[in-house]
């Protein structure tokens, strides 16, 4: 059965990532932990872009809402990490609900511009409230706040293995949530909206409500990634709210395959190493990003896994 094949593939990916924790050298171990958090961000984005067909250019605000929602209470109120993580996710959910209610009144190009502008306002707000957010230079989280007491066991989030395992846990939850969502009736409705919204509405689906849920789920997953990033790597800065961080998840999704579950993660991994390796030779890595974007949209609009699905593996979710 195709469903069983898909689930085994996803489980195999998780087991591989778990095994890599013991095999990878220190540098790549750290990179992979970071990439897994970004992959969660990419998955949250791809859910909206790949499946519901809504191209947002403002997802950095959800990532940043999670990041600051978690980091600000730690900085100013001395909250513990788990509580701050929940606060970050809640901030992302609230913001995505508000943005969805406003932005979903528009479609197509207007939706992209509106999301980009709201994200810009969010970014400027972080700069404007620098006395609390420390603006562009950002702030590091206190090490003490990143030691979590789990039923008597102290987990130190600055420890690489703990960091990797927590990132893997978050990645696993996000991946299976995404798999579950896209194979559910709700996920099918999103694909129907992407293919032909008018016809879906004629069939009796409330397309606005479905898109609203899609934006909120997407925003919440991205906020979880942002909150995790702040707590695991101990830093929050306005740079993560800039337009560049709205474009990166778009690039990751396009590269790996936006309408696939594993594509965004693959895209994030590929992109990270591409930038990492090219920046070893030249500082002009943005040039590669730009050329890559153009080539992708010209020749592989479905990305790596999207093309793979068309050619060889129809069962890929």
């Amino acid at each position: 059965m195709s469903g069983a094949k898909a689930i085994s593939l996803h489980v195999a990916v998780i087991i591989l990532l778990f095994a890599l924790n013991f095999l990878l050298p220190e540098y790549h171990h750290g990179v992979l932990a970071r990439v897994m958090v970004f992959a969660v961000f990419a998955m949250g984005y791809a859910l909206l872009f790949g499946y519901a067909g809504l191209l947002s250019l403002g997802h950095s605000m959800f990532f940043a809402a999670g990041m600051y929602g978690a980091a600000l209470p730690v900085l100013h109120l001395g909250w513990s990490a788990p509580l701050a993580f929940v606060a970050g996710i809640a901030a992302g959910t609230a913001l995505s609900l508000l943005i969805a209610l406003l932005a979903l009144r528009t479609t197509g190009v207007a939706f992209m511009i509106v999301t980009m502008m709201f994200a810009q306002v969010f970014y400027l707000a972080i700069i404007y409230f620098s006395p609390w957010t420390r603006g562009d230079e950002g702030f590091a989280l206190d090490r003490q706040a990143r030691i979590v007491d789990l039923g008597g066991n102290l987990v130190d989030l600055t420890n690489p293995t703990a960091r990797y395992m927590i990132a893997l846990l978050l990645f696993t939850i996000a991946l299976f949530t995404m798999l579950r969502v896209v194979t559910s009736p709700f996920g099918r409705v999103l694909v129907a909206i992407r293919e032909n919204e008018e016809r879906t509405r004629m069939l009796g689906y409330n397309t606005f409500a479905n898109k609203l849920v899609a934006v909120v789920v997407s925003g919440t997953v991205c906020a979880a990634a942002g909150a995790a990033y702040a707590l695991l790597f101990g830093f929050a800065g306005a740079g993560f709210a800039s337009v560049q961080y709205s474009i990166l998840p778009l690039l990751w999704s396009l590269l790996g395959g936006a309408a696939t579950t594993l594509g965004p993660a693959l895209g994030a991994l590929f992109m990270y190493y591409l930038v990492d390796i090219t920046s070893g030779y030249t500082s002009a890595y943005l040039l590669f990003v730009g050329i890559l974007l153009m080539l992708l949209v010209l020749f592989f609009p479905k990305g790596i896994l999207g093309t793979a699905r068309d050619r060889w593996a129809r069962w890929l979710p």
């Binding site: 009144r105 511009i113 943005l286 730009g290």
Partner: protein
Amino acid sequence: MSFGPHLLLACLEGLVTAAVLSLTALGLSLVFGVMRIVNVAHGEFFMLGAVLAWWAASLAGGDPVIGFLLALVISPLIVGAIALLSERLVLRRLHYNPEATIVATIGLLYILQQAALSLYGPEARPVPAPFNVRIVLPWFGYSGYKLFVIAASASLLVATWLVLTRTRIGLVMRATQYDRETAQAFGIPVDRVYGGVFALGAMLAAVAAVLIVPIQQAHYLMGRDPLLLSFIVVIIGGLGSLRGTLIAALLIGLSDGVISMFFSPTLAKMIATLAVALVLVFRPQGLFGTAQR
């Protein structure tokens, strides 16, 4: 200085912003109006115009007037050529699909920005103004060049308007904007019109940059603010409406000048951006536009 002259100064600065902004936004608006695509790399054409103006000024070897005139000729030409090239090589092959175009122009934005950083460097470099005349007002002296910028932009806008409404080229462009397929059926080479409009939009941004660069200095990141402000102007003015673009540019330029002088510039940008996003949400045809057919 008391409040009155302060306000006058703010208004003059606002007018300079508005003049340059309306040229840049007009380019974006033309491209959107005729081709129905959003060019995210528009700000980079502006930046490129400024950087090329610096290059032309250094070619002229110190004579600011020759440098300025040279820049006024070669900078729009080179920028137009680059725009035409990217339109032919990329956008046309995407069949002007709006979403694919946005992604592709984001790619173009990165390429141009990185090219400027690599070839021109990270420094902000000044370009000398072609003349230095101070117009002495009773309260303060004001740069004559800035007044020249306002006048030059205004005449360029009038020229564009005349081309659009009085010439055959303008007629062809308006026909394409009005109904692409019927225009094609009447033998208008829509494909070539698209290429020309995209290049023209980029050239308007480049001219605006040549005019502003003696005031602002050329820098490889200078395309960001004009892009955002042009978006704001084009949206408030109604996408594709020339008159709306002008009114909106005046409105935004003046209010930006006034708010930035009396309050924080970040706050001014924040309020403007938020207002525009809300305009787009609740009045998608813009404040002065009519509903799209």
